[in-house]
Symmetry: C2
Subunit: 250 residues, 2 copies
């Protein structure tokens, strides 16, 4: 706001919306999209979202939209995360009127079935590689790309993956989340060592659990008290190309 105050009657009115990029880390990384019924961009895929109400914060609007479309309650459910991504405010991004959209990044371990009613029938899950190749409505393609990069980066330097993993998880499950979100294969042995060596990342519950398709019983962990990963868990692509060349494959 201006430093000296202003005439409250003299400001251009804006519509403020939230758009939700809900990503699900199953085997691969998927994004929830909705097929538009009306112009503009009728028939195109778009992000779910809606207006911010006059009496709710932007944050609250994002949580409400997420719950309305999917039933997910980011604040209360394990395995769900919601955070602000960025704000998109080009003059002509919506041909009908001046709309400023605050995009949110949602992350979920599973792909919840879109809630019945509203536009849920037109909702679908798409792998992010496919989604970014489609022509999405408005500037939603750019928003999805921003969201995917943010999600991948956050797994490097925060404990976000333990939030996704839920209340209790094995290191194998945590490993699987990293592989899904990053879209790469990670050596499980090195992954384990790194995770266990990072203070505050995970802590054992003391229990063990058998898996569904054979294999030794896994130690069960829960998320640790830390929020930041120090040092970060780097993506393989993040390594210097020079260093990668020098060390080579063996």
């Amino acid at each position: 706001m201006g430093p000296t105050g202003y005439d409250a009657t003299e400001f251009p009115p804006f519509a403020v919306t939230v758009d939700i990029v809900l990503l699900a880390a199953t085997d691969t990384l998927n994004v929830m999209l909705i097929r538009r019924g009306l112009e503009p961009f009728a028939g195109r895929l778009a992000l779910p979202g809606g207006f911010v109400h006059a009496d709710e914060s932007i944050e609250a609007a994002a949580h409400r939209e997420l719950a309305e479309e999917t039933g997910l309650v980011a604040a209360a459910m394990p395995g769900v995360h919601l955070e602000q991504l960025a704000t998109f405010g080009a003059v002509d991004r919506d041909p009908r009127m001046r709309v400023v959209s605050v995009a949110y990044l949602g992350l979920s371990r599973s792909m919840p079935t879109p809630t019945a009613g509203t536009d849920a029938a037109a909702a679908e899950w798409l792998p992010v590689e496919e989604a970014t190749m489609r022509e999405l409505a408005f500037d939603h393609a750019a928003i999805v790309e921003t969201a995917v990069e943010r999600a991948r980066a956050k797994l490097e330097y925060t404990t976000l993956a333990t939030t996704l993993a839920g209340d209790e998880f094995s290191l194998g499950e945590l490993h699987q989340i990293y592989e899904a979100v990053w879209g790469v294969k990670l050596d499980l042995a090195n992954f384990r060592r790194k995770v266990l060596a990072t203070a505050g990342f995970v802590e054992p519950t003391g229990e063990r659990r058998v898996s569904r398709l054979g294999g030794a019983p896994a130690t069960v962990y829960r998320g640790g008290p830390g929020a930041a990963l120090v040092p970060p868990l780097a993506r393989p692509e993040s390594r210097s190309p020079v260093a990668a060349l020098r060390s080579g494959r063996r």
Copy 2:
């Protein structure tokens, strides 16, 4: 926006503003603040900012406000950087009306004198440590903290510092920017090695330059083609406390 369109006449009107957190990396990290003349928060320090016009993008509004207050043109001048930070939209963040503010992070190598006119007379530069201890207007204290953390993080994994350093710079100057923004001392020898070993970070112009207070002539560099620092240049604080304990001081 909503997936199925909406009645353009039925939406709650918002005022949309931009707030600029302009940080200057001189010897230390400073932030530009303006003393408010009017209620609310009269007499308090606040961030410079203003309304987004009906016919300009949010991005354009941020650039305009920055230029109006300081004369800095982020797009055209070396040594200046401007990027979106986050959007603040609590219901009661402005007691007068519903205002959504998109905060921008500005970074400058110097502390430009605030432009004459408007509220420039009330503008002042403060070290960020001092600023975060003062009680700022609105939610501006939180915005400043977010901005400082973003700036520090960005120096780790992007070549932003070369943008701040300007068209031509010595490694000593680049080193000084890192020390100012991070607020730590860095071993110059290790810093040089790391910078020169990172592909795309800096490239020599072929010239040398003498410094003002003695010392050998320095090789002149310009910013390289890279945008991301791979691997990142980590802050000393980012090191694992465990590792730091183990290695210790010698």
